[in-house]
């Protein structure tokens, strides 16, 4: 037996120095940030790893669930009776309007058939409750208590009793994340109810909205109501969005138009997740003109649902 067979044990642990490891980790983190924020590559990774964190999250949400249930339990009888009376009053009011609505809908269908227009867009809705504000303080998002298992899909519109609140941006199995209209990254195509002028509305991040890319010479007045135009193929046309507050025309080629949301965007607790069952036909593309036959076949094969929602 020779001593050469024995390996010498290392006296000092040799590895990368702290600064090198810091550089490596920082580089990896920055790469992840860019991949996530710019290119949205990491959604699958996020969904995959959320399986790990999900039990802990469920456990952590117990205290707030308890507080909410307790506050419901201890609501006084008088308050409930008042609310009940209010609801009964509303009920009669709404019933009358519903009757009128049904008659109008029938009339509308008949007229549309006469005009040979496409049938009115059918909708599906999921009633949901806002659980809490999303913890990320850099955005305006809320978490709903309905998720993929209840039929919520990313891209659907979220409305309350008065108008549009936001859009579903991320789904979990039994929860979903809604980006509110007032978030800085949120945009929604709208038109002015009075003259059908179209535009795109952006959140400003301070509870206000801004109608951008409208020419300074356009016919826009404070007090105009803005509704969804439905051109994106995601939102149903005609949902109330905002009221114009101020119009400044002396700044640029475009007017600066500040708006106030109609819905209680950051306060509503009961909302409806609303989606189109049938999306409008896809937009004609440049290649379609060149190869009309092949493109039409290809379009027929692809399912209409799910398009325009990425």
């Amino acid at each position: 037996m020779t001593t050469a067979d024995y390996k010498t044990l290392p006296v000092f642990r040799r590895s990368l120095t702290a600064k090198v490891r810091l550089l490596i980790f920082v580089a990896v983190s920055l790469a992840m940030l860019v991949a996530d924020l710019r290119f949205r590559y990491l959604e699958e990774l996020r969904q995959g790893l959320s399986v790990l964190t999900y039990p802990l999250q469920m456990l952590a949400s117990q205290p707030t669930d308890f507080v909410r249930n307790a506050s419901i339990y201890f609501a006084t009888l008088a308050k409930v009776q008042l609310e009940n009376a209010e609801l009964r009053r509303n009920q009669t009011d709404v019933a009358e309007r519903l009757l009128r609505f049904e008659r109008l809908e029938e009339e509308n269908t008949a007229l549309r058939q006469l005009l040979a227009m496409a049938g009115k867009v059918k909708t599906q809705g999921v009633a949901a409750e806002v659980l809490y504000d999303a913890p990320d303080p850099f955005t305006r998002k809320v978490i709903l208590d309905r998720g993929a298992l209840h039929g919520v899909e990313p891209g659907l519109a979220v409305i309350d009793a008065r108008g549009v609140v936001g859009q579903v941006t991320r789904i979990y199995p039994i929860q979903s994340e809604v980006t509110l209209l007032t978030d800085r990254d949120q945009a929604i195509p709208v038109q002015i109810e009075r003259n059908q002028l179209r535009g795109v509305m952006f959140g400003t991040g301070h509870g206000k909205l801004e109608l951008r890319f409208v020419l300074a010479t356009a016919d826009v007045r404070p007090g105009d109501r803005l509704v969804t135009s439905g051109l994106d193929g995601v939102f149903i046309p005609g949902l109330p969005v905002a009221v114009i507050e101020t119009v400044e025309r002396d700044t640029d080629a475009f007017a600066r138009i500040a708006c106030k949301p109609i819905a209680a965007v950051e306060q509503s607790t009961r909302v409806l997740v609303l989606g189109r069952q049938v999306l409008p036909p896809p937009r004609p593309q440049a290649e379609a003109a060149a190869k009309p036959g092949a493109e039409a076949q290809d379009r027929a094969r692809r399912p209409a649902r799910g398009r325009n929602r990425d």
Binding site: L22, S29, M32, L33, T53, Y132, D185, G205
Partner: protein, 173 residues
């Protein structure tokens, strides 16, 4: 290891499983939905900074990165935002560990404050570059509340390492 270098109390060696379970508990506390109430401490950052100062050989940047990614997922933040911040925090805490441990607990807290603030500032810078809105100055309150908890946290997390005092001729401390 001693509580501080002036203390004459010798602690038992740390148990690695306890370190990581305390980090997991902190992760759970971070997941508690508190809405937009300012001043809720970032528990993972706090516990991570504590262990990185206390036990630089057990906890370092790898743990910071891993728990950072988990916080990003749970909070719906940008992937890598907390990971980046916690890696820098772990580096700073490891680096200053030899210095900070000379001080009593409340002075250690004063050392932790700039680290926690730097971490929050880093996250704000990253998100502002990405185009998010500024969350307001109240956002930084959570570092201060975290630092207030440093002294109780020190005794809580070191509790398993304290041993009963049995002084005799052969063992004076």
């Amino acid at each position: 290891m001693q509580l501080t270098n002036r203390s004459n109390r010798i602690l038992l060696p740390v148990k690695v499983w306890f370190v990581y379970s305390s980090l997991i508990v902190a992760l759970g506390l971070d997941y508690v939905p508190t809405g937009r109430i300012p001043g809720i401490p970032d528990w993972v950052a706090l516990v991570l900074a504590f262990w990185c100062i206390r036990e630089p050989r057990v906890v370092s940047m790898g743990a910071g990165f891993f728990f950072g990614v988990l916080v990003d997922i749970g909070q719906g933040a940008a992937m890598g935002q907390h990971a980046l911040a916690y890696v820098v925090l772990a580096y700073l805490a490891n680096d200053l560990s030899r210095r900070v441990l000379w001080f009593p607990a409340f002075l250690q807290a004063l050392h932790a404050l700039p680290m926690l603030l730097a971490v929050q500032a880093l996250m704000v810078v990253v998100r502002l570059i990405a185009g998010s809105e500024f969350p307001g100055w109240w956002y930084f309150l959570s570092s201060f509340t975290g630092v207030l908890l440093w002294v109780p946290l020190t005794y809580l997390l070191l509790l398993p390492q304290f041993q009963p005092v049995e002084r005799d001729e052969n063992r004076p401390i």
